[in-house]
């Protein structure tokens, strides 16, 4: 069986936070306690959207030690493939859904003398759980959170209210910017920096920290890539002896699953490496979008991550 263990849940609250973000609360259908987790973990939510099964990862934002419910926050992406729109438009209180056990690809380094969190927009969610976790043990942390405007600053007020000395909010529309270089320069030895937000922000934090000579081991980031739409293409699966079509709005992994192929996965966002697949033959070009394979592997034509990467060309034969 692919993916993490599954949990049957019902939606017990749907709370719109602002024009873009809605929060969902899940409780176990049978009333049992949910597993505890570590801050930074995500769950994969299964959505039955017409004939399509969508599996989207969302960071768990609730207190990891609260086993009565999980909460996630979903930002509506009008240009996306439809997962967030499904959550916003279709999911109602009382609905039953299937979610995965928590999986953590963005965990705290518990050796850190200090945890420095840098969030952009909806990237705040994993930090909410991490802050809960650290607060249980009087952990040393500091948050710098950049959002578009006060109206769109999800959880900014709550954070500022509960942790006024540790929370720093920056609003784009008021021309407020994180003074990153200065911030990184002043950190004591043993600090770890964590960033979650848009790709541009992650790249900015990584490159600034590297320029400030931070060790790579002290820089952590979580970037879930949503699969991007693209031109349809055809794939031959050598082991199951099937030829399948990958549609414009589905990923290669989703197309394989639709055809009944049990392909391994965890994050579905190009990060964890579980779905790595061997290419047997190809004629054409890969559109690699993962950050699991390195540049040499991308260039080799020997491997592909079907959760986010695509193909354009005549033939593609995979070891599935």
């Amino acid at each position: 069986m692919s993916g993490a263990e599954k949990i049957q849940v019902k939606v017990t609250e749907v709370t719109p936070l602002n024009a873009l973000v809605t929060r969902f609360r899940f409780e176990a259908v049978d009333g049992s306690l949910l597993p505890t987790f570590s801050g930074g973990a995500h769950t994969v939510v299964e959505m039955q959207d017409g004939g399509i099964t969508r599996l989207n990862p969302y960071s768990l934002m609730s207190d990891p030690y609260d086993q009565s419910a999980y909460t996630i926050s979903v930002r509506r992406d009008d240009a996306g493939r439809g997962g967030s729109l499904f959550m916003h438009n279709q999911v109602k209180t009382g609905d039953e859904m299937v979610i995965s056990y928590p999986v953590n690809l963005f965990s705290l380094d518990l050796r850190a003398r200090k945890h420095l969190f840098i969030a952009g927009g909806i990237g705040i969610t994993p930090f909410l759980a991490q802050i809960h976790q650290l607060e249980h043990f009087n952990g040393h942390w500091e948050l710098h959170y950049s959002c578009r405007s006060e109206a769109l600053g999800s959880y900014a007020d709550e954070l500022s209210h509960s942790h006024p000395n540790k929370t720093h909010i920056y609003y784009d529309d008021q021309d407020q910017r994180i003074g990153l270089q200065h911030l990184l320069e002043g950190q004591p030895l043993g600090t770890h920096v964590y960033v979650c937000g848009p790709k541009g922000m992650i790249d900015w934090v990584k490159s600034t920290a590297e320029a400030e000579s931070w060790p790579a081991d002290n820089i952590h980031y979580e970037e879930f890539l949503a699969p991007q739409p693209g031109k349809p293409f055809q794939v031959k699966l050598a082991i199951s002896n099937k030829t399948i079509e990958v549609g414009e709005h589905e990923s290669l992994l989703e197309a394989m699953e639709r055809e009944g192929v049990d392909a391994p996965y965890l994050c579905r966002g190009g990060a964890c490496g579980q779905c790595e697949t061997r290419v047997i033959d190809y004629q054409g070009n890969f559109i690699h979008r993962d950050h699991w394979l390195d540049d040499n592997e991308h260039a080799s034509g020997e491997k592909i991550m079907p959760c986010v990467s695509r193909f354009e060309g005549k033939t593609l034969v995979l070891d599935h």
């Binding site: 263990e5 964890c272 490496g273």
Partner: protein, 355 residues
């Protein structure tokens, strides 16, 4: 089920014995007539009724005596149990995992009552009845990992997961196959396996690491490993090797059946939820050659495996000097008949010894 606990020793007069029940359920580690390294992982979700695979943490007739032996080792050398400062949360994770598993799997032996963070733990075999506050170290007599692993058979290594690597940052190690926690604590997966011959070149550890990094909550895994020990000595530590090493030279054709033991480790792997660490329980089972030989299939197979094992492995496992003596003994139990696949004894279907 009710287990009759043995009163026995793993040192000095070595009164350790396996009952017929324990021999029948011994985790014989060879699924075919030869042995080479492999990752050989499988899901740890139960197994045949009564087997060592059935429960998450197997409890058997040696439980009480093994815990007494552990306490003795720790009295002499507290360094056998260590936890780097950032591993306390993982220790609580382990305490929770073991208490919940044992109270569910052996309700006649263990009870756990939870009222919020107020927990009452009853361990009947060890006569413990203790109320404490979960996640509050001041309410336990030891750190959480030490507290619970003084009540659980087998060694425990707790591995922190960082930067796509596992780091052995905590452990309780008193029944080990000749490795030192005090020396290895803080090492990464490749470093603490560094002394193992051949397996690095075979890519075993790269594959094993990839598998282990992806073990998820609620989906534990397991494998078997093995070595040889003269006398039923649990504490074959490097720390005490200057004392026990000499016992390896005391084998004779007359005493080998009784003294030589096959030592099997049931290794399991669980993702720990609160810390995202991985716990690696290493449960040691000992069985004397003469007891193994009561199962005809195991007699045939053990002879063939030991005979054909590469010298490097026999050296690493520390029995190269005793191998000729072992083979003289074991060959008497090998009549050349074929054996059935798999590790189980298959007493009903395998023929008795034909010589």
């Amino acid at each position: 089920m009710t287990i009759q606990f043995n009163d026995e020793s793993f040192r000095g007069d070595y009164t350790f014995r396996n009952s017929d029940w324990a021999i029948q359920r011994f985790p014989f580690p060879f699924h075919e007539d030869s042995y080479m390294y492999s990752v050989n992982m499988e899901q740890h979700r139960g197994g045949p009724k009564g087997s060592v695979y059935e429960q998450r943490f197997d409890v058997d007739e040696h439980y009480v005596s093994e815990m007494k032996d552990r306490a003795l080792v720790l009295d002499q050398d507290p360094l056998r149990c260590q936890s780097l400062p950032h591993m306390t949360l993982a220790g609580w994770d382990l305490l929770e995992l073991i208490m919940v598993s044992k109270s569910e799997d052996y309700p006649d032996l263990f009870e756990l009552n939870r009222d919020g963070n107020r927990w009452r733990w009853v361990n009947k075999p060890l006569r413990i009845d203790h109320t404490f506050t979960f996640l509050d170290e001041t309410t336990l007599p030891y750190g959480p990992m030490e507290y619970i692993t003084r009540q659980a058979q087998g060694d425990f290594a707790i591995l922190d997961q960082r930067d796509d690597m596992l780091w052995m940052d905590a452990g309780m190690v008193t029944t080990q196959a000749d490795w030192s926690l005090d020396f290895d604590i803080g090492m990464n997966f490749f470093e603490w396996h560094a002394p193992v011959p051949k397996a690095h070149e075979m890519g075993i550890f790269v594959r094993a690491l990839k598998f282990l990094l992806n073990i998820q909550q609620g989906a534990p895994a397991r494998r078997l490993n093995w070595t040889m020990t003269v006398n039923p000595l649990l504490d074959t530590s490097p720390e005490n090797y200057h004392k026990w090493g000499i016992q390896k030279t005391e084998l004779t054709p007359e005493n080998i059946g009784r003294k030589q033991h096959l030592r099997v480790e049931l290794q399991t792997f669980f993702r720990l939820p609160r810390s995202n660490a991985l716990v690696f329980p290493i449960r040691c089972y000992l069985c004397a050659f003469e007891d193994l030989m009561t199962v005809p299939k195991w007699g045939r197979r053990l002879h063939r495996v030991i005979r054909d094992l590469p010298d490097e492995l026999a050296t690493y496992k520390g029995f190269i000097d005793n191998r000729p003596l072992m083979l003289d003994y074991l060959s008497k139990f090998d009549d050349g008949l074929p054996t059935s696949l798999g590790i189980w004894p298959d007493r009903e279907t395998e023929p008795p010894l034909q010589k």
